[in-house]
């Protein structure tokens, strides 16, 4: 177990190192006009050069990269080009927003997806199963920005027109303002993420439940006279959840790096929004930090998934 963790962490570090170089190279070869933008329209070439020097953009790429890695290892991710704010501060302000969004949505999509999947699997090919399949595929096909805008149109705009103001048009209220405003601002984003993601869980749970319910030990459990509900939940669902756990880890990991689209639609100042803003302004320190953060989340999620695998299924040995 310990050796497994060490090996996977090392591999993850290698992956992150490759990605950091990739992103760095990407922005080095790009024509950068950051210095020119900062200097203003009427700046002399000397001013532009001075700004380039101050930002360290006049150094050769390998020195810029080494400088970045050296500082990053000490926990310093540099400063925002435009506002002189430490990148770590930007991330620290954005992280709670993304975290609130993803955790709430994840609970919703996991319960919705697994519940629907089990209902489908109990009576395969029934009209309930078909209905749930169509429901799942409908939202699976739905681009999240479209669903977000539709929810805004019907649940914010039309309801507000009708005199019922439950949902705000967007934005974020921190938990310190109280749970109610916090949840009010997040319900529509949660729904958007959850409905779009739940489909995969419905299909996964249905598939693996059908596999498991065909096993001999389920027949044994039934013939012992164990109530059906208990057979399904205790004996069936528990071992059917393994592929679901994998998918869940990967999805949560990917989203913690920023739910770019949902955050954009609902103007949530999370990590996804921060990275989009940084990208459009070529704000390199923020971009590298957010890309690395997103990749780190995926790497860690993968390791946790593999450990969970061994916990859920005693047959799996980690090596």
């Amino acid at each position: 177990m310990l050796r497994f963790l060490i090996r996977r962490t090392a591999l993850g570090a290698v992956v992150l190192w490759l990605i950091s170089m990739l992103v760095f190279a990407l922005f080095f070869v790009a024509p950068s006009d950051v210095a020119r933008t900062l200097a203003g329209r009427q700046a002399t070439p000397e001013t532009v050069a001075l700004i380039q020097h101050r930002l360290g953009l006049d150094l050769p790429i390998w020195r810029q990269y080494l400088g970045f890695v050296g500082r990053a290892l000490r926990g310093d991710l540099g400063y925002d080009y435009y506002h002189q704010v430490p990148v770590t501060t930007i991330i620290a302000t954005a992280a709670p927003v993304t975290l609130s969004l993803v955790v709430g949505a994840a609970i919703m999509w996991l319960s919705l997806g697994v519940f629907n999947g089990v209902m489908s699997a109990i009576r395969p090919r029934s009209s309930l199963d078909r209905g749930l399949t169509v429901f799942a595929l409908f939202f699976y096909s739905m681009p999240s920005f479209l669903l977000g805008l539709l929810l805004l149109y019907f649940l914010y705009f039309q309801l507000t027109l009708a005199g019922i103001t439950i949902f705000p048009p967007g934005g974020f209220a921190p938990l310190s303002d109280g749970v109610v405003p916090w949840a009010q601002h997040l319900i529509l984003p949660w729904l958007t993420l959850a409905l779009v993601s739940a489909a995969i869980y419905t299909r996964l749970t249905r598939g693996s439940m059908l596999d498991v319910l065909g096993e001999d030990y389920i027949r044994t459990a039934r013939s012992k006279g164990i109530p059906e509900r208990r057979v399904i939940v205790r004996h069936g669902l528990r071992s059917a959840l393994t592929p679901v756990v994998t998918q869940f880890g990967i999805d949560v990991g990917a989203l913690l790096g920023g739910a770019v689209v949902t955050e954009t639609v609902f103007s949530l100042p999370g990590i996804g929004k921060a990275s989009i803003d940084a990208l459009t302004q070529q704000n390199q320190p923020v971009i590298i930090a957010t890309v690395l953060l997103a990749s780190t989340a995926v790497v860690i999620a993968n390791i946790i998934v593999d450990v969970m695998y061994a916990v859920l299924d005693p047959r799996v040995r980690l090596h």
């Binding site: 149109y153 790096g257 990208l279």
Partner: protein, 323 residues
């Protein structure tokens, strides 16, 4: 929808039996049914899949015949009808007999633009998926077949590609190179191959131990021949299923890039881009979002339902699930 699934299954089984026991067939020439033919016959009886296929063909026709929409309505896709197509205070016009789907913020005909937008979605969907599948198959075949150090390196490569935050890097690339159709197609294609490679690798790992590979090798077949002639046909079914299901994913990614303002440069009509333009007006001009949105959703839904049918018909594992 109303097809009774059990009758479907018994039909399929009856055929399986009769092709094995040809005596049951009277007066008909005996013909062997290949797995492909059987799969196609199963698919043809899946009403939902066939309706979806019909919708896909329809959308393809719309894409090909998009100029016809311009002729019928008399409106060009990028022409701004500022006199007739905007309200007196310069806002988009709702659906009228003149503009069936209404107009956008620049007074352009949304119907014509939705028709032209299908070209971008389908082109990117098909070409990017093609690129991803070709790369994925070659990498997956090589990794699974050669094993050893090649597999270790390629598998690590697949890991990196799966870890990269795709949307962020895609946006970064597009913002650096500037948006264009080629860039969109290439970026999506080059970031979608890893999952194909992983599936193919897994299958090839077990296939290469089988007797027919050994037989081919003892007959003196070269590595490329074994890979592409002997092994590849055996992984074709999952590849086809995955390809059908990858197309709608790619279409959504393209629309998402366009929605985030990184699609094709204006004034090209593009569903995601239209929705991006329209969201500023979502309280005043619902048609600006609803029509391109409906077109997009219909396309991805048709591909997903069809892909689901293809999986049921061609992927042998799904047969087990039905029992």
């Amino acid at each position: 929808m109303s097809v009774d699934p059990t009758s479907l299954e018994t039909l399929g089984e009856a055929e399986g039996v009769s092709s094995r026991g040809p005596d049951a067939l009277e007066g008909k020439a005996i013909e062997g049914r290949s797995p492909w033919l059987l799969g196609w016959q199963r698919l043809r009886r899946d009403r939902v899949a066939m309706i979806s296929l019909g919708i896909i063909v329809l959308i393809m026709l719309i894409a090909i015949l998009a100029p016809l929409a311009a002729v019928v309505t008399g409106h060009q896709p990028n022409e701004q009808y500022r006199q007739t197509g905007l309200s007196p205070n310069g806002l988009p016009l709702g659906p009228t007999s003149h503009f069936w789907f209404g107009t956008d913020d620049l007074g352009r005909d949304i119907l014509v633009r939705v028709a032209f937008g299908s070209r971008v979605s389908l082109l990117v969907g098909v070409v990017s998926t093609g690129i991803a599948v070709v790369i994925g198959v070659v990498v997956g075949l090589a990794a699974g077949f050669f094993g050893g150090i090649i597999d270790t390196v390629l598998a690590r490569f697949i890991d990196v590609a799966l870890t990269v935050p795709f949307l962020l890097v895609a946006i970064a690339l597009v913002s650096i190179t500037g948006p264009s159709l080629t860039i969109t197609i290439l970026v999506i294609g080059f970031f979608s191959w890893a999952s194909v490679a992983r599936i193919v690798r897994g299958q090839v790992l077990s296939l290469r131990e089988r007797e027919f590979v050994e037989a081919a090798r003892s007959l003196g077949a070269s590595d490329p021949r074994i890979m592409f002639v002997d092994i590849l046909p055996n992984v074709l079914a999952p590849i086809i299923v995955y390809t059908t299901l990858l197309i709608p994913v790619v279409i959504v990614v393209e629309a998402t890039l366009a929605y985030l303002g990184l699609g094709l440069p204006p004034p090209t009509a593009d569903w995601g881009g239209m929705i991006n333009d329209g969201q500023k007006y979502y309280t005043t001009a619902w048609w600006f979002i609803i029509f391109p949105g409906a077109a997009l959703l219909m396309t991805t839904l048709a591909f997903n339902l069809f892909g689901d049918g293809v999986r049921d018909a061609f992927d042998p594992r799904s047969d087990q699930l039905l029992q």
